[in-house]
C-alpha cells in the first residue's frame, strides 16, 4: 500500500470532488487521465498514457496479454501511484488519493479476478458499497438515531433495486461465494454501481462466459450508461464485443499507446495488427507471453 497523501491536500481534494460534482462536471470530461507513467523497478509498465472519457461515454482499452491494461486500472483507482501524470474526475484532481477516497470521488471498478466479500450475503456485498455516502458514525450506529435508521433503510432499498436491475434479486440471501460464475460478475457490477460512480471501470466483464451470457451482459453494459448516468471504461479480450459497443478504443502494447480512435479505424491500424499477430513476415501468429 502506498504512503498516504499529505492529509490536508487529500481531504481538500476529496471534499472538492463532491462539491464540484454538480458544477464542474458539465464541461470537464468524466475521466481525464493525462500522460500517466509508472515503472516497477526498471520495467516501464505504463508510459505516457492519456485517456479522456466524456460523461456517459463508453470507451474500450485493449491490448495483448501483459500490455498493462490492468495496471492502468490500478493507477486510475489509486492502488498504484503514478510516477508522473495526472488523473481528474469531472475536473477534480484525484491522483495521489487513496483508493477509498477515489471511490468516494466517483470512480468504481470491477476486478478481473473476481473479488467479492465471499462469506457475506449477496445483499450485504452491495450494502457495503451503498453505504459509501452514508453519514452516520459509530455513535449514531450504537444509538440507532433517526438519521441512522433512515440511511440504513435507504441503503437497503438501493441495494435491492440494484440487485433487481442486475437480475440477481432472487439470490440476495445466498453467500456470494456460492453464486455461479456469471452471477458473481453481475454482483461485482452491482456493487460497483452502488457507490454512485461517475465513471465505471469494467475489467473483462465477459471473460469465461458463453455466447448467451455474453449477449445478455452486452445489453446490460449498454443500458447502464443511460440508467446510471455513468461513463464506462472497458477492458475486454472479446474483440467482437469491444468493436461493437465502444465509441472509442485505446490500444496498449507493453504499456505504450500504439493506437486510438474509433473502432473501425483501430481495427485496420497496422501497428495494432502487428501487436496482436506478431511481426507479419514471421509467418506464425505469436502472441506475447502470458504475464497476467
Amino acid at each position: 500500500m502506498s504512503a498516504a497523501a499529505p492529509p490536508a491536500g487529500a481531504s481538500a481534494a476529496a471534499a472538492g470532488a463532491s462539491a464540484a460534482a454538480a458544477g464542474a462536471s458539465a464541461a470537464a470530461p468524466a475521466l481525464d487521465a493525462d500522460r500517466l507513467s509508472i515503472a516497477f523497478g526498471g520495467l516501464k509498465a505504463v508510459t505516457e498514457l492519456s485517456l479522456r472519457v466524456p460523461a456517459r461515454g463508453l470507451h474500450g482499452l485493449i491490448g495483448p496479454n501483459g500490455a498493462g491494461k490492468t495496471t492502468v486500472f490500478n493507477l486510475l483507482t489509486g492502488v498504484y501511484r503514478p510516477d508522473s501524470g495526472s488523473i481528474r474526475l469531472g475536473g477534480v484532481r484525484v491522483d495521489g488519493l487513496r483508493p477509498n477516497q477515489i471511490a468516494r470521488a466517483g470512480l468504481a471498478r470491477t476486478f478481473q479476478n473476481i473479488r467479492l466479500f465471499a462469506e457475506l450475503s449477496v445483499l450485504d456485498n452491495v450494502r457495503v458499497a451503498a453505504a459509501v455516502r452514508a453519514r452516520s458514525g459509530l455513535l449514531r450506529t450504537f444509538l440507532r438515531t433517526p438519521l441512522y435508521v433512515a440511511e440504513e433503510a435507504a441503503i437497503l432499498e438501493r441495494a435491492r433495486e440494484l440487485l433487481a436491475i442486475l437480475g440477481i434479486a432472487h439470490r440476495e440471501d445466498e453467500q456470494a461465494k456460492s453464486l455461479p460464475y456469471g452471477d458473481q460478475r453481475r454482483l461485482e457490477i452491482a456493487r460497483a454501481l452502488a457507490t454512485e460512480p461517475r465513471v465505471l471501470l469494467l475489467d473483462e466483464p465477459v471473460a469465461g462466459m458463453n455466447t448467451q451470457e455474453k449477449k445478455a451482459m452486452r445489453g446490460l453494459i449498454q443500458s447502464l450508461r443511460e440508467r446510471f448516468d455513468v461513463a464506462i471504461l472497458l477492458i475486454e479480450h472479446d474483440m467482437g464485443l469491444v468493436m461493437d459497443i465502444c465509441e472509442h478504443i485505446t490500444v496498449l502494447d507493453h504499456g505504450v499507446t500504439i493506437a486510438r480512435g474509433e473502432p473501425a479505424a483501430v481495427q485496420h491500424d497496422p501497428a495494432v495488427i502487428e501487436a496482436y499477430l506478431g511481426v507479419p513476415d514471421d509467418g506464425a501468429a505469436a502472441p506475447p507471453g502470458d504475464a497476467g
Binding site: V79, P99, A103, A118, T141, R144, P146, A192
Partner: protein, 369 residues
C-alpha cells in the same frame, strides 16, 4: 437513480418510533441485569454465583475480542494486555480514590451507592485508557499483515506485563495516600506481587455491574454487526482490496475496531479487578489469558456473537465440572482448535448467529446477514 441522501429523507422515521426502537433493548438489558441481581443472585450459592461472575466477564471480553478477531479479521493474541491496562487503572482509581474520598479502602455504600459509582467510573476510565493503548497498538500494525499483527499484539501484552512488574508497592497507609499526588500513586501498583487490597464490589450476591456491561457489549456488538459500519469491518476481513475499491477506509476501520475492542476489554479488566476471589497480578492477565480468549472466539465462531456467548459460558463452566481432568484441559482445547480449523475453518458457528442456523432460519429470515 435517486441519491442516497434523497432516499434517506423519504425514510425518516417518526421520532417517537425511533426513540422507542432505539431504547427498548437498552431497557431490556437493564431489566436483565437487575433481575440477575435481585432474583437469581440470592437464589444460587457462592460456588455457582462466583462461576456466573466469571462467565459474565468471559462473555464481555470474548465479545470484545470478537469485534477485532471475528468482525474485522485482524488477529489479536494479546488482548489480556488490554484487560490488564483497564484492570490496573480501575483498581488504582477505586483503591486510592476510596482512601482519598472516604478515608478507607473498604466498600463504601450499598447497591448503586457512591462506592459502586466510583467503581463504574474507574472501569470506564480504565476502558478509555485501554482504548488509547489499542490505538497505539493498532496504528503501527496497520502497515503490516495479519500474522505480524498477531505478534505485535503478543509483544504488547508482554510489554504491559513487564512494565506492571516494575511498579512499586501499593501504599496502604491512608495518611500517606492522602499526602501523595494522584500522579505519583500511578507508580504504586504492587509490582510482580500484584495489586492487592482493591475493594471487592463484585461478589456472588452483587453481580449487577458485570451483567449490565455484558448487556451493553452485546447490544453494541449486535448493532455494529447489523449496521453499515459493521459490514465495513466484515468487508475488510473478507477482502481488503475490494473493500478499499468500494470506498471503505480500511485503515480507519481497522483502528476503530481495535479501539472499540480494547475499550470493552479494559472495562472487563476493571470488573475483573474488583471481583471477589480474583488476584490482580501481571502474570494473571498475561499470555495464557490471551490464549483463553482466543480459544473462546475461535471455537465460538469468528463473527458470531451468540456463538461467542455459548463458547464463553461452556469454556468457563466445563473446567469446573471436569476438575479431575484439569491436566488435560489445555491439551483438549489445543486439539479442538486444530481440528476445528481443519474441519470447520469458519469456527463452529461461523459468521452466523444461532437463530440463523437450522430450522430457526426461516423464522428469522429478514435479509440481514
Amino acid at each position: 437513480m435517486k441519491t442516497l441522501a434523497e432516499r434517506a429523507a423519504a425514510h425518516r422515521p417518526a421520532l417517537v418510533r425511533a426513540v422507542a426502537g432505539s431504547a427498548w433493548p437498552i431497557a431490556v438489558g437493564f431489566a436483565f441485569a437487575y433481575l440477575m441481581q435481585t432474583a437469581l443472585a440470592p437464589a444460587v450459592g457462592d460456588f455457582y454465583g462466583k462461576l456466573m461472575l466469571d462467565v459474565g466477564i468471559a462473555i464481555l471480553v470474548g465479545v470484545a475480542l470478537n469485534i477485532v478477531n471475528g468482525f474485522a479479521g485482524q488477529f489479536s493474541i494479546g488482548h489480556a494486555g488490554f484487560m490488564a491496562v483497564g484492570g490496573y487503572v480501575a483498581a488504582g482509581i477505586v483503591f486510592y480514590g476510596s482512601i482519598k474520598l472516604w478515608g478507607s479502602r473498604d466498600i463504601h455504600g450499598g447497591f448503586l451507592g457512591p462506592g459502586e459509582l466510583l467503581l463504574v467510573a474507574g472501569c470506564v476510565i480504565g476502558g478509555l485508557v485501554a482504548a488509547l493503548a489499542g490505538l497505539l497498538v493498532g496504528l503501527p500494525s496497520l502497515r503490516v499483515r495479519g500474522d505480524y499483527l498477531a505478534i505485535v499484539t503478543l509483544g504488547f501484552g508482554e510489554i504491559v506485563r513487564v512494565l506492571l512488574q516494575q511498579t512499586d508497592d501499593v501504599v496502604m497507609d491512608p495518611r500517606a495516600v492522602e499526602a501523595a499526588s494522584a500522579w505519583s500513586l500511578a507508580d504504586n501498583l504492587g509490582g510482580a506481587l500484584g495489586f492487592f487490597g482493591a475493594p471487592r464490589y463484585l461478589d456472588p450476591k452483587n453481580p449487577f455491574w458485570i451483567w449490565l456491561f455484558v448487556m451493553i457489549v452485546l447490544l453494541v456488538a449486535y448493532r455494529l454487526k447489523t449496521s453499515s459500519k459493521g459490514r465495513q469491518l466484515l468487508a475488510v476481513r473478507e477482502n481488503e482490496v475490494a473493500a478499499e475499491a468500494v470506498g471503505v477506509p480500511t485503515t480507519r476501520v481497522k483502528v476503530s475496531a481495535f479501539v472499540l475492542s480494547a475499550f470493552f476489554a479494559g472495562i472487563g479488566g476493571g470488573l475483573y479487578a474488583h471481583e471477589l476471589g480474583n488476584s490482580l497480578r501481571p502474570a494473571d492477565l498475561g499470555f495464557q489469558k490471551s490464549i483463553d480468549l482466543v480459544i473462546i472466539v475461535v471455537l465460538g465462531g469468528m463473527g458470531s456473537i451468540s456463538g461467542v456467548v455459548v463458547a464463553a459460558t461452556a469454556l468457563t463452566i466445563l473446567p469446573e465440572v471436569f476438575r479431575e481432568f484439569s491436566e488435560y484441559r489445555m491439551i483438549f482445547y489445543a486439539l479442538a482448535l486444530v481440528l476445528v480449523m481443519i474441519l470447520r475453518p469458519q469456527g463452529l458457528f461461523g459468521i452466523r448467529e444461532l437463530w440463523e442456523l437450522g430450522p430457526w432460519r426461516r423464522v428469522f429470515r429478514r435479509g440481514a446477514s
